[in-house]
């Protein structure tokens, strides 16, 4: 495929990126809103456009299990899921990271049951926050396409060896037709070296993977893991840096918009970042000294970059897309409060939970959230979270 710019459904762009990445195995179980990804991949493999094993598993738990087996033999591995599928595979999701098995997942964020909902929010990814995966959040079609490659590059880096999730908002991104510039195959080949892992399952060099841990040694295995996740940070930046050099599109763990001279900022993660920018421009025209901070890397959490963007601001209005029931606030806000704890210049923070199960948050809604949020911050009304748009 040569370099070409096209209007394409983001799910299709993902499948095309996976194809260009020359993946060896795809484990596929359908769940709304990820179905177009696996359907298109099935078609691509059926037509011989990608030489890969397409494994239609009988559950998401098996999808992740198959991915573990595939990664363990050193095959480039991809899967995709959402919501209930992620919940079902969560046992193995944690194990994949603990066993340091590289793979990439397109996680089409969707709300968790109950009630059943096929629409978008972040409750699914928040459930696996502590699993030890690398989590990237994308905002539009181009970012999605690009980060599939970056994800493979990070995941398979011999100094990383961690599974990577590319989080994209279900329906809001998966089913949207967006302008995406496809890079040509040669550039991808240049960017993505062949996957070579030191310890794989092969009779020529047998190893044992997944031995069990007594109390005498378990703690040390977990520190080894934590060091691995934290230690992946420079290689994540390297992967993005190399992509930036080749394509001119640079990704950073924290991205800011008109934040440097802002008095206060809105903080978002995922596709709301695009809307945030629009509203910041509108409010700036009205004289508000507001900016936007967008979290692109959720795990490992970019403490330094976030502090650099946030410290010195008067207020932060943090938008969460999930509730932590009975907790001190939305999951993102809780993390950010913790990141800024006792730091000089820490802004006052106000937390909104918005857009649960894909309920529309219009530019006007954003504007209300920002202005109302600023008032709350000024008056010290910062406890817990506000569920925006709640009736009753």
């Amino acid at each position: 495929m040569g370099k070409v710019r096209k209007g394409v459904e983001v799910s299709i762009a993902i499948a095309d990126a996976v194809t260009q990445a020359n993946v060896d195995l795809i484990a596929a179980y359908p769940i709304t809103p990820q179905t177009h990804i696996v359907e298109h991949l099935a078609e691509i493999v059926a037509n011989g456009e990608l030489d890969a094993e397409f494994i239609p598993v009988e559950s998401e738990h098996s999808a992740m299990s198959v991915c573990c087996g595939s990664s363990a033999v050193g095959a480039r591995t991809f899967t995709s899921t959402s919501s209930q599928g992620l919940a079902l595979m969560s046992e193995i999701f944690f194990i994949a990271a603990a066993m340091r098995l590289p793979m990439v997942m397109a996680l089409a964020n969707r709300s968790l049951s109950s009630p059943l909902s096929i629409w978008n929010d972040h409750s699914d990814v928040m459930m696996v926050r502590d699993a030890g995966w690398i989590h990237i959040f994308v905002e539009n079609g181009q970012e999605t396409y690009d980060n599939i490659f970056c994800a493979f590059r990070m995941s398979e880096d011999p100094d990383v060896l961690l599974p990577v999730a590319v989080n994209l908002d279900g329906f809001i991104l998966t089913h949207m037709i967006e302008p995406v510039e496809y890079e040509d195959d040669e550039l991808i080949r240049q960017y993505l070296p062949e996957f070579k892992m030191k310890n794989t399952l092969h009779p020529d060099n047998p190893v044992s993977m997944g031995c069990f841990g007594m109390p005498e040694i378990y703690t040390e295995t977990q520190m080894n893991r934590e060091a691995g996740v934290r230690g992946s940070y420079p290689y994540i930046l390297k992967a993005w840096g190399e992509w930036g050099k080749l394509t001119g599109r640079n990704y950073k763990p924290i991205e800011t918009y008109r934040a440097e001279d802002a008095e206060y900022c809105i903080v978002t993660m995922g596709s709301y970042g695009g809307a945030a920018i629009e509203v910041v421009d509108t409010l700036r025209d009205e004289g508000e000294k507001v900016g936007a901070i967008k979290i692109r890397l959720w795990r490992p959490f970019p403490l330094d970059e976030f502090r650099k963007a946030a410290l010195g601001k008067k207020y932060l209005i943090v938008i969460d897309r999930a509730i932590s029931f009975g907790g001190p606030g939305g999951p993102v806000a809780s993390e950010l409060r913790s990141a800024l704890y006792k730091k000089d210049g820490a802004p006052t923070m106000v937390n909104y939970v918005a857009g649960l199960a894909g309920r529309d948050v219009s530019p006007e809604d954003f504007r209300k959230i920002i202005l109302e949020g600023r008032k709350k911050a000024q008056s010290g009304d910062t406890e817990g979270f506000t569920l925006y748009g709640l009736r009753g």
Binding site: R100, V207, E220, N224
Partner: protein
């Protein structure tokens, strides 16, 4: 040789807890488990190798003299070899003796 479990530092572990020294369980000498051990009447042994075949510990080997006997480093004293020997040339005797 793997270090004892409670002396390994987190930096010494392979990524993902992978064990690359295959078959290193031989460091763990299960012979201390037993309360009986097998004794072979060497001249009666017909070298059929059924004791070798049935040993769950894979610890029965051909001795220099040609008969088969258990490596006491690992033998747990289960008594299967004595029970299965077709010529009954193996007797289990108490370790207390």
């Amino acid at each position: 040789m793997a270090k004892p479990m409670d002396q390994i530092t987190w930096q010494e572990l392979e990524v993902g807890g992978v064990v690359i020294e295959i078959g290193n369980s031989v460091q763990y000498e299960t012979g201390s488990w037993r309360s009986e051990r097998p004794v072979v009447e060497k001249e009666k042994c017909i070298k059929c190798m059924f004791c070798w075949l049935y040993c769950p510990e894979a610890c029965i080997h051909e001795a220099e003299e040609g008969h088969f006997e258990a490596d006491l480093t690992y033998c747990k004293g289960c008594g299967i070899c004595a029970a299965e020997c077709p010529v009954k040339c193996i007797t289990m005797i108490s370790e207390e003796k």
